[in-house]
């Protein structure tokens, strides 16, 4: 059974903006799914409809086979939502926010208190649990949103840009926690602008642009479409210029770092032979992390060109 099934979903707002133009999408149970798209592509509208914050103009949405439109209450019980904007009462204590949210899902108060302690602890917020929420830092507020979304232990967790504006250390701890949740069986749908993270965390992906799905496949298949790979090479000694190699684009990033873009049809040996001939010793090499970003930009660009 799919965790999320969307069929011919359309949304036209009162001001005439057509945010979704007949979207079809399936997310398998247990998946870690990325939903990517530029600003205004329709991601938040789609999440809004799935979480019943936005009324669909047409189409069907179901969560674990339960129709959001026909059996809203049952469908909502399956979902935990981490919204893009902080939307808890900042004059309440984090502990109360999480316990109350559990209550809205029918979790008895004594169980809710235990779970609030567990999730606030797991997300490093227990020492802040009884202070005013407005005093929390931006990263803490984001983690509180995750604790709140998890307290009723949903089968589907939807995260709408959960790490926006969060520093790298906290971001990594958040991803570790979400990966654990996914491993334990919760399906995760994520929208993010940090494509490197989508590449590292997610198994499947949909790219949405101008209200349409322009790609829906596995990350592996998508990355397979990339015909040029970029490698970052760290050199032992500084150099003043990048070597010129036919068919390979080499750029000097700084005195000891080269960036080489190589078509998949070409051999890496050619690159190394030339570097060696020019006396450049490579001490380490890594794949440039923004492979997905390159594909994303290319696809969105293509989609916008065809729409024009």
């Amino acid at each position: 059974m799919n965790a999320l099934e969307v069929r011919q979903l359309r949304k036209t707002y009162k001001n005439g903006v057509e945010a979704l133009k007949g979207i079809d999408l399936s997310v398998a149970e247990g998946d870690f799914f990325a939903l990517l798209g530029p600003n205004g592509a329709g991601k938040s509208t789609l999440i809004g409809i799935v979480s019943s914050l936005v009324n669909a103009s047409a189409g069907e949405t179901s969560v674990f086979g339960i129709s959001v439109q026909k059996k809203r209450s049952q469908a909502m019980a399956q979902i935990g939502l981490v919204p893009q904007e902080v939307n808890f009462n900042q004059f309440e204590k984090p502990f109360d926010i999480v316990v109350n949210q559990a209550g809205y899902y029918g979790v008895p108060r004594h169980v809710a208190r235990e779970r609030a302690e567990y999730y606030l602890g797991k997300l490093g917020l227990w020492d802040k649990a009884f202070g005013m929420s407005r005093t929390l830092s931006g990263g803490m507020k984001r983690r509180l949103l995750i604790a709140r979304a998890m307290v009723h232990e949903p089968r589907l967790l939807i995260l709408d840009e959960p790490t926006a504006g969060v520093d790298i250390e906290i971001r990594r701890s958040m991803w570790k926690f979400i990966e654990e949740i996914n491993t334990a069986g919760t399906t995760v749908i994520l929208t993010t602008h940090y494509l490197e993270e989508a590449e590292n965390l997610c198994r499947n992906i949909a790219i949405i642009d101008q209200g349409r799905i322009v790609e829906n496949t596995s990350i592996k298949t998508l990355l397979g479409k990339l015909d040029i790979e970029t490698f970052v090479l760290d050199l032992r000694a500084p150099v003043s210029r990048a070597p010129v190699i036919e068919g390979i684009e080499v750029v000097l990033r700084d005195a000891t770092t080269l960036e080489a873009s190589i078509p998949k049809s070409r051999s890496l040996n050619r690159l190394f032979s030339q570097l060696e001939a020019e006396g450049m010793e490579v001490v380490s090499m890594r794949n440039k992390a923004n492979r997905l970003e390159e594909l994303f930009v290319r696809m969105v660009h293509l989609d916008q060109e065809s729409a024009a």
């Binding site: 914050l53 919204p83 209550g103 089968r155």
Partner: protein, 261 residues
């Protein structure tokens, strides 16, 4: 495993909203409970003790006694309405109403939770004003059942009316317009300080369009045993308003007016 939706889970959801509302009311007691008591004490001193002495009797009762039910009702109406508008519009404005909108709770549970919170505050303030009134005018109780039932119904009616105001409100000004320009005049002209029977012919007919007249008079009957209006008409009108407003509120939430895009 996720939580299943059941009557028990709805009951827990209702309790949660109510507990949250009561906690909010008690946390800011200096704003929610004390000001109406001070205002009503001043009414009792000025209109009851000082001016009332010169007025003499009203509706066959000493003026101080006559105004007690009306002043309690005035507190109940304004606090019931004010509580739900500030609380629900605050939740909308701060976007934390989304916590409820994404939850499995059906519209009628959300409505019941907020209305119960408003009724709690209205009754708490009503009780405090009653205690102040007892200090000035003595304690009277003619019919406990009528007193309690009409208090409950009136606070429910104005909580529901306040909910509609909060749903349509887009800014804080929008929740103060109705209380100032509609609710307050209707309450003051609703027989709080005078008997409707004193009004000349046409004015009396006009006064009877005001639903608050019926509520104040029914409550006055409950406390003192006198009323300008037959009791059954007062109940019919109050119940009618409660049912109509409940239906409107439910339709508005179900359609997501002012809540969902």
């Amino acid at each position: 495993m996720s939580v299943e939706v059941s009557a028990r889970s709805y009951w827990i959801g209702y309790q949660t909203i109510l507990i949250k509302e009561i906690t909010r009311i008690l946390r800011i007691w200096a704003q929610t409970l004390i000001p109406p008591v001070i205002t009503m004490s001043l009414y009792f001193v000025i209109f009851g003790a000082i001016i009332g002495r010169r007025v003499g009797e009203m509706g066959g009762l000493p003026y101080m006694e006559f105004i007690v039910p009306g002043l309690i009702m005035l507190s109940v109406i304004t606090n019931s309405y004010g509580n739900i508008t500030s609380s629900f519009f605050g939740a909308k404005f701060g976007k934390h109403v989304e916590e409820l909108l994404v939850s499995p709770l059906p519209p009628w549970i959300i409505l019941a939770g907020y209305v119960s919170g408003a009724v709690f505050r209205a009754l708490a303030v009503g009780l405090l004003v009653w205690l102040v009134a007892a200090f000035f005018a003595g304690f009277h109780m003619h019919n406990l059942l009528v007193t309690i039932s009409i208090l409950l119904l009136t606070s429910i009616v104005f909580a529901l009316a306040g909910f509609i105001n909060a749903i349509y409100a887009r800014k804080f000004d929008d929740i103060s317009i109705i209380p100032t320009f509609v609710l307050q005049p209707l309450t003051y002209l609703g027989g709080v300080f005078f008997s409707v029977s004193l009004l000349p012919g046409i004015a009396q007919q006009i006064a009877l369009i005001n639903p608050i007249v019926y509520m104040v008079n029914a409550f006055r009957y409950g406390l003192l045993g006198v009323s300008d209006i037959p009791l059954w008409i007062a109940y019919a009108i109050t119940l009618g308003f409660a049912s109509l407003l409940f239906f409107i509120c439910l339709t508005l939430i179900e359609r997501g007016v002012g809540l969902r895009s």
